[in-house]
């Protein structure tokens, strides 16, 4: 007796053809995303809307990285930009599972990744779980300026990041470390590319490397935390 109702339901699912929207989206003359530093081009408003909502909504104000959801952004801010996090993480499990409904926490991002793969079946190259430790930036053929993991703005200031006074505070943490390691005060330092400085730079010279994973190249402004 129930057959007919089910058949109708399935016919509906297969044949949803009523209420058809516009099939062909009108093209507009090409325009560029208006967000500073973003240079993607668009020829339909629909694509632009998608781009804006996906790429310029959940943006980290510190490093300008973009995330597909506010949840991932929150985790990022906590783990990358919260100095208290590192302190707490040393004592308790602070790295939360990326899946919202999973309440597990881990002592390292590596452990979390293993969990994601083992329990939740995530791939080893899951795009939104790149480790904080930076690798050398790889040049891709398409040379997309908008890799999700890297800051969206490629502006002058960033390349001179190491010498920007605003990040002196964290550098202090490093400098503390340096003192212990090196035992010598750092010299004032300037390079030809840098804006003139009046104060003593507390920055570590680019040529000095503090161990595993830190970047030597001038073009990689990320500093080890």
């Amino acid at each position: 007796m129930a057959a007919d109702g089910d058949i109708r339901r399935h016919l509906y699912l297969r044949n949803v053809t009523f209420n058809v929207g516009e099939v062909e989206k009108p093209k507009v003359s090409e325009f560029c995303c208006h967000v500073t530093g973003c240079s993607q081009l668009f020829d339909t408003l629909e694509n632009y809307e998608h781009h804006y909502n996906t790429f310029h909504r959940n943006v980290c104000s510190s490093c300008k990285r973009s995330f597909p959801s506010s949840h991932l952004l929150d985790i990022h801010i906590l783990e990358w930009h919260d100095s208290l996090f590192q302190i707490l993480a040393a004592k308790q499990n602070m790295y939360q599972c990326l899946i919202e409904s999973c309440t597990e926490k881990f002592k390292s991002s590596c452990d979390r990744k293993k969990h994601l793969m083992k329990v939740h079946g995530y791939p080893s190259d899951f795009r939104f779980d790149k480790p904080k430790k930076l690798k050398r930036k790889q040049k891709t053929q398409e040379r997309s300026p908008h890799d999700m993991e890297v800051e969206a703005t490629v502006c002058q200031n960033k390349t001179n990041d190491i010498f920007c006074p605003m990040t002196v505070e964290s550098m202090d943490q490093e400098s503390g470390e340096t003192m212990e390691d090196e035992g010598a005060p750092r010299p004032e330092y300037s390079t030809a590319t840098v804006l003139p400085r009046s104060s003593i730079s507390r920055r570590v010279p680019a040529t000095i490397c503090f161990g595993h994973g830190s970047i030597r190249g001038f073009k990689n402004p990320r500093r080890k935390k």
């Binding site: 089910d6 044949n15 694509n47 998608h50 909502n53 995530y122 939104f128």
Partner: protein, 499 residues
Amino acid sequence: MLRGNGAPSRTRSRAGSVEEIKARRRQQEWALRKARREKQLVSKRLLRELQEDAEEMEIREPSVTQEEVSQLYQRIQRGSEGRLAALRSLCQLLHLKEVQKMFVGLENSMHVLIGLFTSNLASVQLEAALCLLHLSHADDPSISLMCLPATPYLLTYLSGQSVKFTEQCLVILGNVAAENEAVRNQLLLQGVVQALENCLQSPHGAVVEAAAYSLFQLLQAKEAGEKIVPAVLQTSLTPRLIHLLDPESEVGMPAAVEAAWCLHYIMSSGVSSDKVLISQGLVHQAGILLIALGRAIDSGTVADGVELLIYPVVRCLGNLMASREAPLHRSQLDTHGVLQALSSITSKFLHSQPSLSRECLWLLNNLTAGDERFCSAFLSLGLVAALFELIPFSDGINTLVLMLLGNIAEMGSEHCEKLQQQKEIFSALCTVLRTSEVEAVRLTLEVLNLILSHCEQACEEFVNQSGIPALEAIQYHSNKEIRVRANFLMDRYFTDKAM
């Protein structure tokens, strides 16, 4: 066009092709019934606008070679200027079964496609999403299964803010979950239930509809009762689904349809689910919706396809009313409103969709069985007369009508008194006696017995409406039980009338 069945493609409807459309529908229905018999019935959906798109393309592209697909794939992999164009071309072909097979057979192709699906370039990402949508819609489950590695991304993107994209991801998820247990298992591990709950809260109707559709595909799985329904009941999904049944809801009817089917499957999956749903107000909400639909039908303002909403709502209520605690639940319903609505629906759809009328009659039976309030209301609303119009119809309709009359008659003298006062009731009953349907005849005799035993005047009425000849005729019925009952009635009530 029968997607994936090898049927010839057709142009969009033009004047004079109504017969074509009907023939196509009949063929489709036949195929669906066969699939249902063999328990292979699964259906998936595309986004609406793509259906039209694909129809066009099938005419223009008669056959595609492996070479062509490989070349497109190469251009896609190369990642230069031609990538997007190649991706677009591929997308336009991916509804074709052969192309689907060819593409997934290429080395690393799914990995590349999923990589493009996570691209930062909007146009590439959207095009890749459409490709996945076509693959997910494939008739061959081994093809849609190839989308499995995309699930973590699909689920991640559900929390995003691009509405159309979210809708696409939800439809892809629903499609791949439909036929593949492996996909469903993985989705459960990756938090699909929570993700769907979030999407159901969206203010966008299309997203809500797609989320409910996706949930439906999970719930129709054979392992749903064991693995999926318990997980669903632990969240606040079901109150939200119940809320979507609200006729005043801005989210709209398509979402209500999906929600109703979800609730129906949850209800029929296990013992504890109905208790939970009742406590969350399903009975009350379903009743209100039914009444609103009945009113819309009466005033002629009802939308096309409303039966897709009525079926699951009626089934939910019918199942609820069949449970042991039914008397408690019935009190949550507006007796008059519900009866009136069901009566309107039954009458309206008798000729266009008799199965819907049948299911409404089934619900009416479950409402009236042993319930004095509903029986009295049925009588006082004057709904019995409409039942007589239904009596000639077979395929379960007449038997349900008779059972309904029996429910009312069982209530006692007062009700039988009112019944026998209904104009031409015995004429109507006797028409059934003259049919060859054994079960219907048997039920008629039972109803007659009930009425006659409770109400003396009924005998006289029966005679006045020429009941004796009809009764006499079946005293010689081929079926023994019927002969026995007919004889019993004659002897008991009409000895003086017997010839």
